[in-house]
Subunit: 523 residues, 2 copies
């Protein structure tokens, strides 16, 4: 590849408030990014963050990459310390990645005020660190922090950092808009000036943009148009403050709008799926309005043009949605089209090809349920149960029959709040009554259900409720609104998500709970 | 103003999935946009949408604008119809706005395939409609739909639409990137070519960008840099698919990065407040990562640089957050700094200047509560109650003392789900027990509380719960997680929001309910 697609979701992306990856999460993210075809995966800062150290350690045996190489991120050596004795630099080598990316100060004000050293010593820190990495067989990239602010304030000092890095053997020097204040026209001008002042070609430079002017994607594209061939992005734009340049939008723009080949063949089509999967791992709701990959990216409200759109969809879409693995939606209720029902079922291993009547029945059921506030987009397990119930011979019997349940929440005189649930069920002919407490109504119901079923289904013990999401629909009706509950359940072999909808939050949760147990027991 | 800031939140922004403004909402949005200093507020499509017709009707008497003029949006006359007999055009005049903006087809393919008429008739439709509007005393703007795609496909036809509009007396012709597929460099090139081919000056043109390449803000800025002086945006970028160019980012970029004056003095500082208020009205969670105005736009994760940031904040922020009415946050727990507590209290009319001990007490309390999952950002009423409880002489007595409550949710044998709540209270010495049903546990509690208090506080009848939001915090613990509830209550004079947090969703709701009634009764 002529272009270096450098992903820093695992390092800079983790700066976003609310993201906290486990090591297993990081390995899963790396696999997805590799599948999407990025060339470089910056995995973290070994030595500085224990989780990152462990990630690089486990990556040595657990991560097989086809498209990407792994990058360890760190800093130049400390001021006044010999590079061979700098522990942080040693940790970078211990990560045993083919590429190391070190951050360097390139704004003289930051050198003097934050680093509290001299401009010359900073240049030595860059040279020593790069030489040491190269001498140890690493490809060295240098991230110049606060590059554009520094370049505006003192162009010659910032250019001297670029020169020092290249003299010492750096493969790429990356211009970082750390504070995110640039506009595309400023990027274009700066790239040309930097190349001239530092005596380098633009294609030796890299770009890293933050989104503080809402221009990170455009700034990255502008740098590439100015000749830069290395760009750093994060999946879905995750990052500190308003985030980083979104990998999916940048790559889609470069390939589809400028005709540049930046990913291996067959990868761009994975954008939507990879984006959604990465959002799930980050535990952040997918942005339905994200460019290219959002669920609404190609959604058209029904209107005067609906029929025209059907005849000539390309006149109403800036690209064919399928090139980024997305779909066009014309009406919300048309989401549940036969084609998507069949596709989704096939994904779950259920072939509906020979069962048009099942497809019809499921499509009608889903339409009806979606009109009532249900959503199966994130609840594959509930969807699978629904399809199976309509597919001859594939049904999963319910593990029990409900007679009734009762949940009590009491705020007592002493201020203590208790929740207690009683369920009355029939399991294989036996009538069971069980009561349990919990720290909320849903937890109490879950506990009571487990007590009731424990003799017949001991494997229930391995099930754990790992996430519980509540969404109130039609919020303008206050507490009369409909409630949609998403439950994520896991056992030692994986996880599954179920959905329930009801005007009563407890009953919505109950439906999702029952689906979760039914699905889990049948796995 | 040299520049025309044209807001279309109420028209194009309403295309976003999930937004559904009432007429009262639309009036409130218009007031906020006017306060923010936009020059033009496109209010909707009178005649086509009954709600929009009503909006313009009520605006005549209920809307006093200081900065903006109101714009009615519509289409050119129908093909083959005399403009004076076109009902849709008549409805535009009936709206009695100083400005009318009509959409015209400018891509010959859309003229022929969607409109099913000829290129010549389309030009006549533009000319006739603009002449008719001008003859009736209106300033006429023409939105050229699918402008850039059309211009690429058949530059001379698209340019002929521009010429026709100006010949007929249009004040501005707006280039709309309807499918949203442009990049900034393409905008720059197109603006220059269009101006030349149509024989007009760039400053007669307008720009309207959609965000399908994640470049709507950058594209708008690029057009302005190329000489365009009219730009159409929506608040928070609301709009179809990935949305429109975000008003706040565009205006901030133009004023703060390019030094252009596009808003009246003192308006940009309102950006953060207006953005949040508009999100509330649209019933969309504010995007905490939005450029300039998001709660996290200037948030720095604590790290090596925390002390450096404190010494020299401007080295770490691309602009001073206060110029857009935002705050810098260094640590999440530092959100509740003394300064912001005092500022927020002052906003609510509580002067803490002479009460350092109150500020200390409130700051500590808020820090402690925020660490436990509370958030007062959207719950001014609860925050005010908290401040008042610490401010000598300002406290609001609770309207009752709780002895206990009990909520029962029962799923009966016949499948019916019932919710029933009993509250035991003391009101002015009297012990009251009341029971009520509801369609969920919170609704039942609310009803029981109203029954119990109805004799002492008959004004409770005017209170209505208008929104109920539930957020589960620390989702990795499943149903053991903490629940945060936000309640919006309104009466005939306004609305207020309260918050409650508890591991039990019912008790979290109870806290918010009690605050809502206490605050409402004291107003």
């Amino acid at each position: 590849m002529d272009y270096q697609v450098f992903d820093t979701t695992l390092r800079d992306g983790g700066q976003r408030e609310g993201i906290s990856y486990t090591v297993a999460d990081k390995l899963a993210v790396a696999r997805l990014l590799d599948e999407f075809g990025v060339g470089f995966i910056e995995g973290g800062w070994p030595g500085a963050m224990p989780k990152d150290t462990e990630f690089f350690e486990r990556a040595k045996t657990e991560l097989e990459l086809r498209n990407a190489v792994l990058v360890a991120f760190g800093a130049t050596r400390k001021a006044g310390v010999d590079v061979t004795e700098d522990k942080q630099v040693k940790a970078l080598l211990d990560a045993e990645t083919p590429v190391v990316c070190v951050v360097a100060k390139s704004d003289i004000r930051h050198v003097e005020r934050a680093l509290r050293t001299t401009g010359d010593e900073n240049l030595n820190m860059v040279r020593d660190t790069v030489r040491h990495l190269v001498a140890n067989g690493r490809r060295a990239f240098v991230d110049c922090e606060h590059f554009f602010d520094g370049f505006r304030y003192d162009p010659s000092y910032t250019a001297s950092v670029v020169k020092a890095a290249f003299e010492a053997g750096a493969e790429r020097v990356v211009m970082c808009d750390t504070n995110g204040g640039m506009l595309p026209s400023m990027i274009t001008a700066a790239v040309n000036q930097v190349a001239e002042l530092a005596g380098v070609s633009a294609d030796q430079l890299g770009i890293h943009c933050q989104n503080d002017t809402a221009c990170a994607v455009a700034n990255t594209v502008a740098a590439v148009e100015a000749g830069v061939k290395h760009f750093q992005c994060t999946a879905n734009g995750y990052g500190e403050r308003p985030g980083n340049a979104d990998l999916f939008a940048v790559v889609s723009n470069l390939q589809l709008k400028l005709g540049l080949k930046v990913l291996p063949d067959g990868c761009l089509e994975k954008a939507t799926r990879v984006s959604t999967a990465l959002a799930e791992i980050a535990n952040i709701a997918p942005d339905t309005h994200q460019a290219y990959v959002g669920a609404a990216a190609f959604a058209h409200k029904a209107g005067l043009h609906a029929s025209a759109i059907k005849v000539d969809p390309l006149l109403y879409n800036h690209v064919d949605p399928s090139v980024v693995g997305n779909d066009m939606r014309i009406l919300v209720t048309e989401m549940a089209g036969r084609a998507s029902i069949e596709l989704k079922s096939a994904e779950l291993g259920l072939d509906l090809a020979g069962h048009p009547e099942t497809t019809t029945a499921v499509t009608n059921k889903v339409k009806e349920l979606e009109a009532g506030g249900w959503s199966f987009e994130a609840a594959d397990a509930s969807f699978e149960l629904l399809v199976r119930s309509e597919l001859p011979g594939a049904g999963i019997p319910s593990p029990f029959t409900l007679e009734s349940y009762r949940v009590l929440v009491e705020h007592r005189e002493d201020g203590k709040v208790i929740s207690e649930a009683t369920v009355k069920l029939r399991v294989e002919g036996e009538r069971i009554i069980a009561t349990a407490e919990g720290n909320g109504p849903v937890n109490a119901l879950d506990e009571a259900l487990r007590v009731a079923l424990s003799n017949h289904y001991p494997q229930l013990k391995t099930f754990e409720l790992t996430d519980f999401k509540v969404r109130i629909l039609e919020g303008s009706h206050g507490t009369n609104a409909i409630t949609r509950v998403l439950l994520e359940t896991s056992d030692n072999r994986g996880e599954w998500t179920t959905v329930g909808v009801h005007e009563n939050i407890v009953d919505a949760s109950w439906t999702a709970l029952v689906d979760a147990l039914t699905f889990g027991l049948a796995r």
